[in-house]
Symmetry: D3
Subunit: 156 residues, 6 copies
């Protein structure tokens, strides 16, 4: 009998993008459950509120029974232990992503060697989408419909 495979997909999701959506969907065959975990930091201002970010994620993934949305404070690896996740899921877009993620993942291994970080590559067509750019276009009244999940494109 094999263990249930649980992955945490951590981020600030300010807001969730089509890139995030695709990573989660493509990772579903690997895991029994994926917990999308919004890292909450009460000292940092965000563009969308914690409630908005959570709602955007819920609308995006409501039809997928193996996907849960959660909010956490503190270290990602501590949250993983609390929810019994053995894996952290991350998407890789670019070289600078890679170096940043590499540092985080290596330190997470130092803290909890039993938690493995698993990487998928972002789809080419979503390769230039970052939450920062989505916010910047949104703030200036530009059209972000092609950048965010269809489920939230009409209300964002």
């Amino acid at each position: 009998m094999s263990t249930i495979k649980i992955a945490v997909f951590p981020g600030s999701f300010d807001p969730v993008t089509k890139g995030h959506e695709a990573i989660v969907k493509r990772a579903l065959p690997l895991f029994d459950k994926i917990i999308i975990a919004i890292g909450h930091n009460s000292q940092k201002d965000k563009y969308f509120s914690l409630e908005q970010r959570k709602r955007f994620l819920e609308k995006t993934f409501s039809h997928l029974p193996n996907v849960e949305i959660a909010i956490f404070e503190g270290l990602t690896v501590d949250f993983c232990k609390r929810v019994s996740a053995q894996f952290i899921l991350r998407g890789l877009r670019s070289v600078s992503d890679f170096e940043f993620e590499k540092n985080i993942a290596q330190n997470n291994r130092m803290l909890k060697p039993e938690i493995e970080t698993v990487f998928l590559l972002t789809d080419l067509e979503y390769n230039a989408i970052t939450s920062t750019i989505v916010r910047d276009i949104h703030k200036h009244g530009g059209d972000i419909k092609k950048l965010v999940p269809d489920a939230i494109a009409s209300e964002i």
Copy 2:
């Protein structure tokens, strides 16, 4: 009869450097007009004021009839449409520049596919000059004469 080729060279120019100056001069044979466009963001503090940054640019390029200086708010592609520019001009110095510029350019293509971003490589001798470094040296009373255009070196 061919269309007039107009390029926008956007940036914050805080301050304009010898690197910026060289890119504009080398791009002149490609375009009929280059509009150097200072992106203005009322929420972000700058080291030099908007007026100073504009004056530095005017002094640097006053002898070049095909170069104009402008200020804009909002998205670069929206400004391009307003001034009928078909091209965005950017300089590339380094790998981290490249990844940053790539994201911006791909999103600009998504927003307005008819506007093309054209890249020139920064001259080797200006390859380590960034506005950030110029400000840092200036703030500590260091000599920035070799880093900014000759036209403004004596007054900055």
Copy 3:
């Protein structure tokens, strides 16, 4: 009266890809003529013969009157002088492309400062296509229809 703007797009085109095709089409508004120049090196074996590579390019661009196909030996800048081109056109895909192209372009500037290298970014959807990968898939009987220009997809 302005000078006619001529760009050389050099490469080995073994074979031409959808990425090459898109760069040339997007660069057309910048130049009056683009000469696609196959660099011939009699000492290096190629996967497709010089004749095949030339024919693939001719079929791909036959409907574009401002595009010419040529073969050259020797230094790219020397070929540019022979055909009176003031510009070299290159596409950029990745960080490793960027570093390679930067070295070439800086040395070309050292040899002939009057010739400017102009870069466009490869379309995201063609970002992972290289001639090397196309050859590798072709050699093993894989399907390369989505990787090469439609005009040659049926015969390659």
Copy 4:
């Protein structure tokens, strides 16, 4: 009832290194079976023979029942289909690895979208080990014991 998860770990393994060994072991909790697949190319000379490379892998992984060793020719995705693998497993060490792997993975997705490439980061301590460097040290009579799996260190 869930499908059996099979991953192919392709490479030339000339020779297998401690880095390869660690990736396979760490990936075991993710998959039900990992097939280490030696890509055979009759036209390319290798430092160790196909038989040696296979034996090194067999000795390294003989105690792991979920790991199989295989040899294949042709495209990796075609081999995956033959062995019903839904996943390709790859290790990432460096920025240049990342760009290379990204191209390969994106083209594999183009060829067979149903096969997902999953990446783990190489352990820091094995980060500078490449088969190329192992061969180079071996060829000059240097000591490679710390670079290859313990199971083969005495005989290589």
Copy 5:
């Protein structure tokens, strides 16, 4: 008779890490004296106070007679002149480090060509340790004992 070789190792050391400690120790055979110089910027908030950061460095290096700790404001090259240092010492971890350090070093050469920046590579095992990550783990109550010098691990 040769000149005494003095190197400045500048940084904010917020806090000193095992990576910093290793670089200084490995650089000792190169220089007669190494001055670890905490760059003080009264406008920037730090996680550990200037006094704490200085004390951590003193405890870490107290047993090494050729290492001194200092605090400076202003440009690094100006501090080097004040203490008659001919060298700046820096550690390199990653590609993004490299590009950042390259810009700084080239500008320092422009300001004071007689001061040479000397780089050592960070030990592999400390390759993912940055002061930023140490602070982040510390803030969330994680264990940083493996990340900072043994001499301060118990009190930090």
Copy 6:
């Protein structure tokens, strides 16, 4: 009484460039002796013969009493031991250089931890010069005078 500091500067120097020349000169204040060591590999064809490469180096550095020229086969660290060098000197130009050099240096540390690799950054003006590019221009009859040391520019 301090030990004599000896550095080995290894390479194939096919041919020596202005970049190599500048690194050696700038490294002189760090070391008591620099041995420029041509790595000889009887199986690899070179553009310039071993004798030519040695003579180019001798002419370039003949006026510097602390610089010696040598030829070696085998591992660089073994040569260092033979000549009692405690340091390996390397120049860094680019991100791809950095990743390559990092692997080599880390493996050299694994083989002989007592030998330290010391890096200087290539001068900006020589940043795009590689021996490969020099050979390519030379082969096609281009002018390489600005790329190689003045001492050999007339005869190469």
